[in-house]
Point group: C2
Chain length 414, copies 2
């Protein structure tokens, strides 16, 4: 699922989101609640109509953002109170309110309001943190804020996890009771437990005891190492019902996706394709390309030779207009003429040299092209993963996608 | 002509530029010379291939930008020396170099290197300037820099115009002599003369004495009032050869375009559709819409009801992909499926409420949608203007486009 936080996949027209292969997008309750407001979206006919996307949408519950993004907030058994980053007003999110806001937005899948503490490692001083992942200052602030005064010297992560785990179960029951559109919105529960496998087992059992159309694994993209992510997912996914969708929240890189699919996960969302696209960072089957690197200044290649995305193969994508686009390369007419019924997205491949130029010049088209490529990259990868579920040729898959083999430990024994 | 300063119409894929009706785009020599450099573009196969636009391109000569945009520069009979805004190095542009740079870029139409002084009024203190147009600090700086020390107290605009006029003729001869691709690149001369009609007549006679495939009217969008623009164009356009294209540089609003066409002008470029689009400012047949205004917060209408642009009528524009886009609203499949061969740009109109939300949230899609609309707005307007040349029903035209009637003085007597 591409991420469309504020009701738009950044820089991409909805038709192009679909044209990369996406069948569902994610939007963030926290952001839409603050601006433009869920009531406004509801008055405008709901989120699908508001964002011009007549296809599935999933909204998260806003809990994680309310917890980690607000500078000043408070978490209790009742819910989270935080200061709006838009207008500074105090906003309260409870399981009931998060559910009702999502009822108003009207997404097809809505998520339970959970308590999702950051990974223990994210709270470590930078020098002690694993080199594999950056320190998120927001998470560090959130942990400090969330640690009771008496224990500030030593943060008891296990105790925090226990509280979050128990609270998440109680909150899920409240979400389900508050849900007003169970007939047309699927509420998913979220399993927590950090990297403690016993805590995961405890959470999975209790969360899955509450009958819902689908279940998610939360709290695994909040600062852990890739190995920890793989270990937790491998342990937790099989604990969720086989016949219902299993959704791994906020993951991830190709290797993470592959490991998770092999563990039995069905659904993913991640900001990587879009966020990295805006930062001049393109995914390929062999690894990432950073366009700010001078080595691409004269590179004639598309982002990835052989890729079928709108940036690498623009002449394969056509745009048709209601008034009949004339072919600019042929036209020489006083009045508007009909002509070719459609135009390619581009007449020749967008080269690495051009894309680098766009980024150095600060031009929007750079982020647009690399985002389109990255979205299609992950769709192509997942299409091949789906096909491999049928053929079971996992070695063949990682040969085609060497990037997914990095740190890959082979298919689970079955 | 939409403006694609740095080799991209900001935020718009080339296929969508064509899908708004544009048959030619403008690129700026000054910007491309500084970054990525004309030699790099030439090595990459020329500008058409570099920017993925296999249709006509016009490049300006860079003279106006070198003159007005650089903080530190010098203008002599030989040319302009200025400090690069990219890396601070000193760059020299002469008629010969400007022509050779354009030969390397390879546009279909290239412009003469001219001396284009700003309007006298642009040099006035803000309090004395006409309320109709803003003071451009760059122009004020350029004028101060360009005024000989002995006369700093009183800027002799007539003298500056005389020098510029004579210089522009000599420079055009040097451009023509230096032009190395006269067989496949049309060099246009530029008539100067400010708002002094005698100076315009003098310039037109001498510029048009130099045999070239087309001629432009320069120096009329550099700070004058709309009335002055109309008066100068009405005087100057008929002085240019009837059988060759007449190009009015940097103009303009609908009323300016209409007046210019009635004066006999054939070609225009302007940043208005794209720049205003990025600033949440949409053109309609009855005037401009500013999306930051709270009155649009709940407005269900498209930007302009009845408009056929990709923002107002997204379901009329379709995107087809090489791999067959499945319809997300129908799809539920493990493997990638074929399906509808194309996807609409959007499933429902992008409402004013949504576009306003995008701008308030700082989302790229806002500028993209309004830019698409504005480009199509001016293409639709010009298509109607072209049709009216045949029907001669100018009253009918301004009834359809009330915005063009503002300050409109009726068709010229013929």
């Amino acid at each position: 699922m591409p991420v469309g936080t504020r009701g738009t996949v950044k820089g991409i027209l909805p038709g192009f989101v679909a044209a990369t292969g996406a069948q569902i997008v994610l939007a963030n309750t926290y952001h839409l609640l603050l601006r433009p407001g869920h009531e406004l979206v509801q008055r405008r006919g709901g989120l699908h109509r508001f964002i011009s996307w007549n296809a599935p949408i999933l909204t998260d519950s806003g809990g994680y953002q309310a917890y980690s993004m607000a500078d000043s907030n408070k978490i209790t058994d009742d819910g989270v109170t935080f200061k709006s980053i838009v207008d500074g007003s105090m906003v309260e999110l409870t399981p009931e309110r998060a559910t009702h806001v999502q009822n108003a937005l009207g997404a097809d899948i809505i998520m339970a309001f959970d308590d999702c503490p950051p990974a223990a490692e994210a709270a470590l001083p930078v020098a002690d943190a694993p080199a594999t992942h950056a320190q998120d200052p927001r998470l560090i602030r959130a942990i400090r804020r969330d640690t009771p005064p008496k224990s500030r010297r030593g943060y008891d992560h296990a105790e925090r996890l226990r509280i979050a785990n128990e609270r998440t179960v109680r909150w899920l029951e409240r979400c389900k009771a508050a849900h007003m559109r169970a007939d047309d919105q699927a509420l998913f529960g979220i399993v927590q437990g950090g990297i403690d496998l016993d805590a995961r087992s405890w959470s999975a059992e209790r969360i899955c005891n509450i009958d819902l159309p689908g279940y998610a694994i939360g709290g695994v993209a909040v600062g852990e190492s890739p190995d920890d992510i793989a270990r937790v997912v491998r342990h937790t996914a099989p604990l969720l019902p086989d016949a219902k969708p299993r959704y791994l929240m906020g993951v991830g890189y190709e290797r993470d996706l592959l490991n998770a699919v092999l563990s039995g996960v069905d659904m993913f969302d991640c900001v990587l394709p879009t966020r990295n696209g805006r930062n001049a960072n393109a995914f390929t089957s062999t690894g990432q390309i950073r366009f700010r690197n001078a080595r691409y200044a004269e590179d004639e290649n598309p982002i990835e030779p052989g890729c079928d995305c709108p940036a690498c193969a623009p002449s394969s994508y056509a745009i048709s207009a209601p008034w009949g686009i004339s072919d600019p390369s042929q036209a020489c007419s006083v009045t508007e003429v009909g002509g070719a019924p459609s135009k390619p997205v581009g007449d020749s491949t967008f080269t690495r040299a051009y894309i680098r130029h766009l980024f150095l010049a600060g031009e929007m088209l750079g982020p647009i092209l690399v985002t389109l490529h990255n979205l299609r990259h992950f769709q192509r990868f997942m299409a091949d993963v789906r096909a491999t579920i049928v053929t079971d040729d996992w070695e063949g898959l990682v040969n085609m996608w060497p990037v997914a083999a990095a740190g890959w430990s082979g298919p689970r024994s079955s």
